[in-house]
Each structure stands twice: as C-alpha cells, then as structure tokens.
C-alpha cells in the first residue's frame, strides 16, 4: 500500500491540470486514440471485463458486463450518459475529478462510446455544479477544436459529440432511470425495470449510464491492460484504484485515492489524520448516506471493497465515508438523514413517498424529546415496509420502483438497531421522570 501512486488523482493540484495542453503532455488521449484506431468494440469491452472494473456510482456493477447488454445489431442510436449528479450525502469525488482533470473523464467517455458504438454522449451534471459544468464545456470545446470530438475523431471515421446537461436540484436524478427521464425533459421519476436502460433508455434507445469515476479509470485500463488493473488492491474480485471521500469528524477531510480494499482504519487514522480533536470514534457511515452505519467495533480490519463491506452488513456504495465521533448524537444524525430522504423522495411510489415523511415526523418528535417507547419498533416496521428486510445473501428485497426506498430504510434501521439506547434517551417518559 505504501508504494501505491495515485492514478486518477495524479495531477490534482498541478497548475493547468484542467487544460488540454497539460493533459496531452501527460499521455492524454493516447488510450482513446488507441481504442478508436486499433481496437474493435469487442476488444474494448473484453479488456474492461477482464480488468474487473466495477461501477463507482454506488452499485458496483461490473462495467464491461453492463456494456455487453447493449444490443449489438439494434438499428437505434446508442447513448452513453456520464452520471455526474453526485448528490449522495458524503460523496464529493466526481467533482474533484472534473475540476482537476476533466479531460481524463472525457477520454474515458470516448473509450466507452467506442465500446458501445455511441455517437452522442451526455454528461449529466448536478445543477449546482455551475463552475464544473463550465469547465467541462471549455474542455469539450478544446476537444472539438482539435478534432478529438465531432466528425471523424482522431482522423478516424468515428463520429462523437458530448453534451453537458445540467440537472436542477434533485438527488433522485442520480438514479439512472430518473436521470434519463430528467434528460428527456421530465420530472425525474425513475422507471420500472425491465426494460433496463441497456435495451430501452434515453429516447427508448439502448443506453449506458456510468459514473464519472468509473469512466476516469478507462484510459488507464486501456493503456496498462487488464492484468495491471486486477493487480491493484487487496481483492482480485474488486480491484483498482478507488477514491474515498472522508468527511465528518476527521482531522483532514477530503478525497483520498487508495487501492481498493484498503482498510477503513488506515483511511481514517493515517490518510485523514485520525479523529478530530483526538476524540474516540463512535461510528462510520462507510459508503454514502444510503449505507447502513457501522459501529466502531464493526470496522476493525474492514477492507474497503464492494464484497468486504457488504459482508460487514453495509455497502461500499459511493465510498462516501462519514466519520462520527463519540460526541455525536445519533438521533440527530438519523433525523438529519431521514429528512434528507423525505425531501428527495420523488414521490412516485406509495411506501417511499409516505414512509420517508412518516419516519421524519417520528424522528423529529424524538429530537424534541417526544419519543414513545413503541415508536422504536414502529420505526423498524416502517423501514421494513419501505425497504424490505435486509438480507444481503438474497439481494434486494425492496418494495419500491427504485433503490431509493432501500437507501432510506436500511440506514435508518441500522441507526435504531445499533444505537437504540440513544433513542431511549429521547423518550417522553424519561424526560418527565
């Protein structure tokens, strides 16, 4: 681990790192050139499959496999969408990649477009990232001016353009079908699946949605090969460099690049400098607000890759690690997140629309010292009714159209189960006694 050199964030902080000139001096667009000129679509898909790259947007789905679902002989246009909606609380890595090295992301998009035979791709970026959207526009203009986008890119007969599409404030538009609806100009109500986007996505055409970080990995895989990528990190099944976002009670919050499978304690205590004010750790939310919280004792020896975190009863998700020290009021944290989800629920499905608000109302009552003993079981039942029982061995048990339901149910459930005594402190009878 000590000999690990950053790959995706290598140029972060270098003057001019966002410009095309800078990028070109540093091997920029060689991988894209290679993919366009020397590789077939199948070859690109194969090397990415072999690399074991898993989507970095949250679900960890193998990228090459996702691409292979795109119907080859469909006469419809195929679309690639770069998911830069980055709205999961605790997550702020894609913004860094865009700000410091937009061309790396664009190059990744060119490679992915080659893989799925896409000629018009989109970057769906959350609306609040105004500066980042402008930066991407500038980078795209640079590419167009240099025949790296547009008609016959890099002198080939492959056409590709990329459009920056700004969201307008809706977490659910990070969910891929909500995103597609939003791109189509509608409210971001996720679609029922099947059909999956690979068959019927944007404008009913085959569509791949990939996260910014996922795409940023591609140039490196093309240049260095699948084996090189597989060798990075602790787990052969979940390899590669990974961006970890550390926030909350750490001394040095920020984005850290480390090999997949790095121990969580190493991230917290070494890279992020340990707990703020040297207090004791109480809990960690390991993969963005949608991942169930882990107690201090549960994180011992925990490796930060998709399978390991899952085995620990949570998920790596977007690798948004929120560190909570001993002074943290878990009831307030739980309420804060429940309120976030109630605000962001798209309101389409009954359990999510009604359940998130119900939970929030109950939890608000707790924060006001008005909890009732029976509310604790009620909260658990309501979370079950929104997100289904958590059984990682069986996969998703959710009761809603999209995984948002689980994303609120599971964390709330974990807070109440693991910190029940803190909730007891807010019971109304205790306050009276």
């Amino acid at each position: 681990m000590n000999d690990f050199q950053p790959i995706l964030t290598k140029h972060v902080g270098q003057p001019g790192s966002a410009t095309l000139d800078y990028y070109l001096i540093h091997e920029g667009y060689q991988a894209a050139r290679q993919a366009i000129h020397e590789m077939t679509s199948d070859a690109v898909i194969q090397v990415v499959k072999d690399s074991g790259l898993q989507g970095r947007g949250g679900a960890g789905f193998p990228t090459g496999v996702k691409w292979s679902f795109i119907p080859r002989n469909s006469r419809k246009p195929k679309y690639l969408i770069n998911n830069a909606d980055e709205s999961e609380p605790g997550t702020f890595k894609d913004r860094l990649l865009i700000n410091h090295n937009p061309h790396q992301v664009i190059e990744g998009m060119i490679i992915a477009s080659k893989a799925i035979d896409c000629h018009l791709a989109f970057i769906y970026i959350r609306g609040e990232f105004v500066k980042e959207a402008r930066l991407l526009e500038t980078a795209l203009e640079e590419c167009r001016a240099n025949h790296m986008l547009g008609k016959g890119i890099f002198g080939s007969n492959f056409d590709l353009d990329i459009l920056v599409h700004r969201g307008a404030g809706a977490y659910i538009c990070g969910e891929e079908t909500g995103l597609i609806e939003s791109l189509e100009g509608k409210r971001g109500w996720p679609r029922i699946k099947p059909p999956f986007p690979a068959i019927e996505g944007y404008l009913k055409s085959p569509t791949v949605v990939n996260n910014v970080e996922t795409l940023a990995n591609l140039p490196h895989i093309i240049l260095n090969g699948a084996d090189w990528f597989r060798a990075i990190g602790a787990s052969h099944d979940s390899p590669g460099p990974k961006l970890y976002c550390l926030s909350g009670h750490v001394k040095k919050p920020g984005v850290y690049e480390a090999p997949s499978g790095i121990e969580l304690t190493e991230l917290i205590y070494e890279l992020a400098g340990g707990i703020k004010d040297d207090r004791r750790l109480k809990a960690v939310i390991p993969g963005g607000s949608s991942s169930p919280v882990l107690t201090a004792s549960e994180i011992d020896g925990l490796k930060m890759d998709y399978p390991s975190v899952k085995a620990a009863g949570s998920m790596l998700g977007s690798a948004g690690i929120m560190v909570l020290d001993e002074t943290t009021d878990m009831v307030q944290v739980c309420y804060n997140l429940a309120r976030f989800y109630a605000h962001e629920s798209c309101g389409q499905c009954t359990p999510c629309r009604e359940g998130t608000t119900w939970l929030t109302k109950i939890l608000r009552r707790f924060t006001q010292g008005q909890g009732r003993r029976e509310d604790l079981d009620l909260i658990l039942e309501v979370t079950d009714n929104i997100g289904g029982l958590i059984d990682f061995s069986l996969g998703s048990y959710g009761k809603t159209i999209c995984p948002f339901g689980e994303a609120v149910a599971w964390p709330v459930r974990a807070f109440v189960q693991k910190f029940r005594n803190e909730f007891m402190d807010y019971l109304v009878e205790d306050a009276v006694a």
């Binding site: 109950i362 009714n385 059984d391």
Partner: protein
C-alpha cells in the same frame, strides 16, 4: 403458450400476458390503484404486489408480463411463472401499502361521495390495519375546482396519477399534471388552463378513491341507495355503453360501462350529463292543441282524434310520417310497418337531426358528429324509407305522424314546409321540443332513459336500452304507442306485449337483423350482418 400458475389455478396465456389482467379475468382479486387497462403502466401504488417463484423481491403484477421459459428452467417442470397472491409476504405488503395510503387520508367516509364504491374503503376493510399507527399531524390541503365540473379533494388523493395519464394519453389535452415532489406531490392544473375537454368527467370515474368528484353529483345521494342500470347512450352514433345510476324516479348520474366493442372504457361529457336535458318540460298526458292552448285529453280520445283526422284529411293514403334517428329500432320499425300498410307510396322519411364535426381523440375515442344516436338502426329497420320529404307534397298531404328527435330534431326549411302543409300533426315525444311546438296532438312516450329496445350504432353494433327510471304520468312506452296507433288504424299491433316482441319481429323480418336477439345482444351488443 406459456403456462401460468396463480395460487392454485393454472392458465395457458399468450406470451406477454399481464399477470394482473390474467388474475382479474380469472376472478382472483389483486387489489390495485394505479393500474388502469386503458392507460400506460406506472407501477407506483405498489398495491398489486405478488410473490413470484424465483424472484426474492415482490413484483407488481400490473407491470409483470409472462414470458416463456426454456424447458429445463420451467417451474415444477411445467410452469413458466408461478404467482402467489395470498402468501404472508403479499398480505403484509398490501397491508403496509394501505397503511401508507391512509396516513394522510381523512376518515370522512360518512360524508364522502365515493363511500360504497371506494377502493380505499374496500381494500382497507379486506386487507388493512384496524387502527392507525400514525399519530403525527396529517397533511391538510384545500380542495380545488379543476374545471369542467370536476373538483379535487386533495386530502383524499393517493397519487395514483390515473387522471394525469388520462389527460395526456386519452384526450391529449394535458390539463392535469403532478406538481412538486415527494410528499408535496399533488394533482394540479396550470394557472389559467383549467380542465377543459369533452371527456373530462371520466377522471372522476377512474379515480379509485373519492378525490376527483363531479360537482353535478357531489352530495346528491349515497351510492348504496342507487340502482345501477346498464344501458346505452343515444346522444350520438358512437353509442357508448353506460350505467345509469338512479332511484325510482330520478337519475343521479351516468357513468361509463366498459365495452370493448363500443366505447372502450370511457364516455363523453355530453352523454354523461345528457339526462338533465330530459328533466324539464316532461310530457305526462296526451295533449291536443286548441287554438293557442293545449288541452289534456285521455289516450282513448287521443287515438280517436288520429282516426278522425285521418278520415277528415284525405284518408289513409294521405298519411305521412317521420321516423326518429334517436328513437329505438322498435318504435321506428312499427311506424314503418304501419305506414307501409296505410299507403302504397313512399310515405315515411327520417326527421333530420343536428350534425356536427366528429371529435376524435389521440387514443381513438370518437364523439360522433351525428347526434342521431340510432340513425343507422332507423334506416335499417324501415322498409321503403324515403330519402327526403319532397315527395310528400305531391298529391294529398294529410295527417303527419312524427317521432320526436329528443331535442335534437332540426327544423330545416323542408321540415318547416312539411309541418306547415300538413293539416294535422301528431308528435310522439317525451319532452316538449321545437318539434312538439309545431304539433296539433302530442303523445307522451318514454324518454331516452325510460325506453326499452334496441339501438344500432354507426359501426352496426346493436345494443339494448334498459329503462332506468319509471315513466312519468300517463306516458307510455314509445313502441307501445305506435302499436296502439296501428291497432286503432289497421287492427294490427295488439300482439306485441313488450319491446322484446318487436325485437323478435325485427329479427324475423329484417334480413340484416336475423342474428339479433335479446339474448345475443347481452350486455355488450351484437353486430348486424354487414351488407358486404
């Protein structure tokens, strides 16, 4: 064909069949709100969840289609899909979906118009919790007028979005939309663009709870006090199947009756509210014009008048008649038969009715511009029908017998000329109309919702008219009055004892109707033999 198993029943179904449809067809109840067969599938209410073998997560049966599995993958060696609608997991999911829907729903069933036909009420009773576990403050929102006689009670809305999809997909008028997000979602109209289309009333019919209400019907009665009469709308030649909800002497509302052969799922607002047109100026006794005054007379006197006047004005050869494009086949047929026996000339024509443009909606619903709802039937069942009334003026013009056009009869120039020329005019009508005003003798007959018999729409579909309310005063069934006239004039007619007798006679004598029987018409109608 895939083999589908639902609970303990097995069905062969076409590939792509919808689990919910198949279950409902087989009489297996799966509660559902957002699904409507005429609208796109959104799968959002989550009420129709079922358990399917091999899939850990419950699936919404409205969005699940049956495919075909390769032989080695079939369940229990034969099924392509095995569905459970009553398992513990399913029961629990329904219960919880209902609990969620009822959190903010007022407990105002005692004053709600939907009570008695509310899917929220029905399902809670069958599947729900007995007590609410929700002690938080309810979301309370004011009601609103959406336009076109539709109001919304926002507190009762469960966000199934059927109404929004209706105005997008069926009418293409897009008035309704979902405003805001999450728990703030609500059904709205854009400022200055109210609900405004001739199918608007359907949104109240398709609302599964009492959120969308028709002002016209609101707070007028309770649904369990009503009788529901399946009948047919005769306001235009589309001939929609309807259910007339009324009590003995009054109609409270008309709703659509699903009929794939006729209107599909919906009806138009003209038809929906048409019954109000027949509430005023109802004719209850035969009346004879005496100068400017009308005198009530008895039926015997009335028939005697007709006999006497015919004698007075040129005899039977001089009698002429106008059949009605809005009256049923039976009275039109009998009038045709009578005229053909009275004279050897072409002596019967059709009363013209007002014509408008057809209105066709995106999903194909059509409001016909021909407001003579039984235009086709009247033509089909009358022998020797004259194309117009010009020939009536040749030679003697005696007594004129007219079936009214239910307020839509048009007084064209030639009609005016005809009435002016005829020395004595008898009109059979249910309500005073422009036509009755020109009459010398008015005979009160059944109105559109009191009639019995058949009508034929412009596609040749013959449907049954079922009386929904009692005849007023001394009014008699239309077919009966024509039969009694025939009896008085030519001694024929007494053999008909009910409308069905005339229907049978039509079956026996009109070639195209040789397959039409009351039995075959059933609830959904029977097509006439096409001439081709």
């Amino acid at each position: 064909m895939p083999l589908l198993k639902i609970d303990d029943q097995t069905f062969e179904v076409p590939k792509g069949a919808r689990v919910l449809d198949e279950a409902l067809k087989a009489g297996i109840e799966i509660p559902h709100y957002c699904y409507h067969p005429a609208l796109s599938v959104v799968g959002s209410c989550r009420m129709c969840a079922v358990e399917i073998d091999g899939i850990p997560k419950l699936q919404t049966s409205c969005s699940t289609l049956v495919g075909e599995l390769p032989p080695e993958k079939k369940f229990e060696g034969q099924y392509d899909m095995v569905v459970h609608t009553r398992s513990d997991k399913v029961v629990a999911a329904r219960k919880s979906a209902l609990e969620f829907l009822l959190l903010n729903h007022p407990l105002d069933c005692p004053v709600c118009d939907q009570a008695g036909e509310c899917l929220l009420q029905d399902y809670s009773f069958k599947y729900g919790h007995a007590h609410s576990r929700f002690i938080e403050e309810k979301r309370v929102r004011p009601g609103e007028d959406l336009g076109s006689g539709v109001v919304i009670n926002q507190n009762r809305c469960i966000m199934c979005t059927r109404c929004v999809r209706f105005t997008r997909e069926i009418t293409g008028t897009h008035e309704l939309f979902v405003e805001n997000r999450g728990n703030d979602n609500r059904i709205a109209v854009f400022d200055g663009h109210p609900l405004d289309n001739p199918l608007a009333g359907n949104v109240a019919d398709i609302c599964p709870v009492g959120a969308l209400l028709l002002k016209d019907y609101m707070h007028t009665t309770r649904v369990w006090l009503l009788s529901h009469t399946p009948s047919t709308c005769t306001e235009c030649t589309t001939g929609c199947s309807i259910t007339v909800d009324g009590a003995k002497d009054r109609i409270y509302r008309i709703i659509s009756r699903e009929n794939a052969q006729a209107n599909g799922h919906f009806i138009c607002d003209y038809g929906r509210y048409a019954f109000h047109q027949y509430e005023d100026d109802v004719l209850t006794t035969p009346q004879l014009k005496d100068g400017a005054e009308w005198t009530e007379i008895s039926w015997e006197e009335a028939y005697q008048q007709v006999v006497d006047r015919i004698g007075e004005y040129g005899g039977q050869q001089a009698v002429r008649a106008l059949a009605s494009p809005t009256f049923p086949n039976e009275s039109n047929y009998l009038l045709g038969q009578l005229m053909n026996q009275l004279t050897d000339k072409k002596s019967i024509a059709l009363l013209p009715v007002k014509q408008q443009e057809d209105q066709v909606f995106p999903m194909g619903f059509r409001i016909s511009g021909d407001k003579g709802g039984n235009h086709r039937g009247a033509r089909d069942v009358i022998h020797n029908l004259a194309a117009g009334t010009q020939s009536f003026h040749k030679g003697d013009l005696g007594v004129l017998i007219v079936l009214d056009g239910d307020g839509r009869g048009e007084i064209t120039e030639s009609i005016e000329r005809l009435f002016a020329a005829a020395p004595f005019t008898v009109v059979l009508a249910s309500n005073r109309s422009d036509i009755t005003r020109l009459a010398d003798l008015v005979l009160p007959v059944a109105g559109p919702f009191e009639r019995e018999g058949t009508v034929t729409n412009d596609q040749g579909l013959v449907q049954w008219l079922q009386p929904a309310v009692q005849l007023k005063g001394q009014a008699r069934p239309d077919w009966q009055v024509v039969a009694e006239l025939s009896q008085a004039l030519i001694g024929e007619g007494a053999m008909y004892t009910c409308a069905g007798d005339v229907t049978w006679k039509i079956n026996q004598t009109i070639e195209a109707y040789s397959q039409i029987t009351r039995f075959k018409i059933g609830k959904f109608g029977q097509f006439v033999e096409s001439a081709a």
